[in-house]
Point group: C2
Chain length 535, copies 2
Amino acid sequence: MAVTVAVIFLLCFFSTGRGNNQAHHEESYSTTPTRGQPWPMPQKYSVTTKTYDIDSNNFQFTASGQTCDILTKAFARYKTIIFSPQDTKLRFYPNRFNRVEEGVTGLNVKVQKPCEEYPFLGMDESYELMVPDSNGQATLSSVSVWGALRGLETFSQLITGTPGNGYKINGTTISDSPRFQHRGLLFDTSRHFLGTDVLKKNLDAMAQSKFNVFHWHIVDDQSFPYVSQAFPQMSQMGAYDQMHLYSPNDVKEIIDYARDRGIRVIPEFDTPGHSQSWGKGITDLLTKCYSKGTPTGTFGPIDPTVNSTFQFLNKFFTEIKNVFPDKYVHLGGDEVSFSCWQSNPNITEFMKQQKFGTNYAKLEEYYMQKLIDIMNGLDKGYLIWQEVIDNGAKVKADTVVEVWKGGWQAEMGKVTGLGYQSLLSSCWYLNYISYGSDWNKYYLCEPYNFKGTEAQKKLVIGGEACMWGEFVDDTNVISRTWPRASVVAERLWSAQSVNDSKAAAPRLEEHRCRMVRRGFQAESINGPGYCTPEY
Amino acid sequence: MAVTVAVIFLLCFFSTGRGNNQAHHEESYSTTPTRGQPWPMPQKYSVTTKTYDIDSNNFQFTASGQTCDILTKAFARYKTIIFSPQDTKLRFYPNRFNRVEEGVTGLNVKVQKPCEEYPFLGMDESYELMVPDSNGQATLSSVSVWGALRGLETFSQLITGTPGNGYKINGTTISDSPRFQHRGLLFDTSRHFLGTDVLKKNLDAMAQSKFNVFHWHIVDDQSFPYVSQAFPQMSQMGAYDQMHLYSPNDVKEIIDYARDRGIRVIPEFDTPGHSQSWGKGITDLLTKCYSKGTPTGTFGPIDPTVNSTFQFLNKFFTEIKNVFPDKYVHLGGDEVSFSCWQSNPNITEFMKQQKFGTNYAKLEEYYMQKLIDIMNGLDKGYLIWQEVIDNGAKVKADTVVEVWKGGWQAEMGKVTGLGYQSLLSSCWYLNYISYGSDWNKYYLCEPYNFKGTEAQKKLVIGGEACMWGEFVDDTNVISRTWPRASVVAERLWSAQSVNDSKAAAPRLEEHRCRMVRRGFQAESINGPGYCTPEY
């Protein structure tokens, strides 16, 4: 990665201040943004000292290779993003580069392979960008349409406004591809519901940082907003109310919207714990808890001892397989509390029959195995939280294990040592807010930073930033997630060596102001400063 | 205070969840909102078991006592607030009270005294509300128009929607007045600029929680967005840029908007420290810092040794007196760093002449005394941060001293022991965010909780919630401030005995959802749950 030119302009800020001095002294990073630099940092990036005019009235995107609706829609979208009044309003920057050459009149996009219908794990996201090319235009080349999407986003970030309401682009050569194939963001729509408009807005924000997986933690104990066609009573009884629902059409819209941006939608239907809301619509699914031999009226995890459970799961996940086109579903499997199982005499009897002794982890394994058999029967891949492995369940060789607890280095060593693909999320729980520039700790968390062989490191397929929903809803989920999640996106996309927070700060500042210009409530995370324009 | 009826409806939430379990176990409060209960809690509040229909098409506000534009505008505003589609959309609540009596057809507002032009320290904010009155209508009585504004807000909060898109109000008798006269919220528009639309939105939010002072920390080291008519160069040179400004018209709009809501605007022009941005437009105002006998090119606090300083301050604060109608201006006086003064040979010489020895607190006192003399000459009252008193400066007997540092109990004892009126803000720095339901600590901070006589307690005139601007701007300042600031508002308005967080939580939840319905991005602070409708 070579950054030939660092573009700097003259704004000075003082970051001391009484507001900081009551209890905390936080490090503040530079709030002097770069200008026309991309986030995340490409693998190879060189900028010349020349800048080129761009004429918004005549600029053309053209496809000279393979094309499809994904590319056509992306051309229209990026034309709006780059040249929209919102993005350009008041975009008056001082510019040190006045050696303006002849203008760049279009971007020629060459995609080699026919478009795939949906993004998938392992899709080719590489691209090359040349501004200008030998014809005085710009060229974007990629193997797949997904790479073209990533390149279009980068291209849009290289363009900046000029004092006279015009546009310029720096002479730039980029050769880029992601370091990890799975770069996810988890939203939790059970603790608080999130409207589809907010979910779409978030997908747009994800595309700006080259995330490629929306991990949709769609249901949990608190509510079941997913409207099942096979079991409509689940949301009728389990949602907060009948205004807090994702209809089949809503779900399709989210999947399509994500697909157009090269983002996979992986739903999580977490069992056997975290399923209180499931039990409202499906009678006898949950374990009845007992106290002194009498049912208490409360319920525990899903009851693995009855056939009806697995008949239900088979039918339910058959629907899920058909609704969500991605190969993978997240099956959860975390935080199963054993106390209710322990209290229930039927479970005790079953444990005896199965010779599990008093090892309830065996019962959990029994449940997960049967669920996994169902998924195998459906030819669907799955992700699971680390506890499933910790409790010793055998899973398919290509299972993806998500590590989320503390002590993640040892866990990543263990999971990859067992030969499973792994995802890291432990260090990226963005819902845990704290005062000040907290992004540095997210930025410096390195997924390879555990003891393991080269082969083990290769099993790390990426990571996920998580925004659990206890304290976020439509009012604040965007501002709390962005641009903090962007930091995780760079860790997962860019080279391992791109890990200097001080160097990243001005580029992150530009990225956040670019999000603000595009209409996102991306919050200030570097201390005093400003964007032009503000939100 | 008597709450005769607690209105409860059936919603159950589970507040456990894996998102919480990585590192923190936070207490979650009830997210089952009350229905039609006011925030902050009135001094006397009793609810009957009867509810009354309200017909949005025919409901009338009438003034049968004194009236003026403030009241007329408030009638129009509350009609919109109560009956707007935004507030009513999807307001479907189960209602346990079906004993509907004849409807309430109007609110009769009786104000005794002619309207005062602007709100002021010590204004009468008391009011009485009776639903229904002896005529089957509702009556709001108050001494002043300010009390009527508070009563209108309370009245609006008692009304709830019904399944059939109608409205109901509980039979209610309220006798109310604030515990403290100064209930402020500080916004800092120097670390980040805030747009006037956001400031107005915030004033609306303040009115909903009965705050009555907008402490506008308008300038600081980082930027000088205030456009001075006498010294336009201050913002020309000292603002972030010429898009980040408060024009004279902007300032007037904010003051008028606040006045209509019974909110005083107290600007803070903090000196002699925190004034880096002042020095950009006013040559020779700041102290030149030296190193080894040579000027370094950097600047320290305002230079108190030259006459030009006080000539400037006299002219500047004469303008401020005329622009801001409130009797009080905040003069700052906090965090003066002595190192630059110590380095400067002219200052050293002046210290010698004045026989200050090496006690630079004396120089600060000298500066503050001269500034205070100017304010006295202008017949303007002033607020100051605690350091001015800590450093021993003599101030006028009716000065208001704001306590903001840690160890506030001792400081409150000291300040009131010296006979000064005091404001508490130490425990209400809302900018210091943390994960979870952090509002409890704000709620339980009791301004009287220091050692002092009755006379000393009487000198506590209130407090301020502070949202310093390092990490907030238009993208997140509303969601981060609300409803957390509302908790401070109840502490400052309601009886000291209203201090049970568990009892407050459901009412706070209703208050926050009411804010959401009214179009404010008030964030979720009680854990999982939902509002109807969402933002």
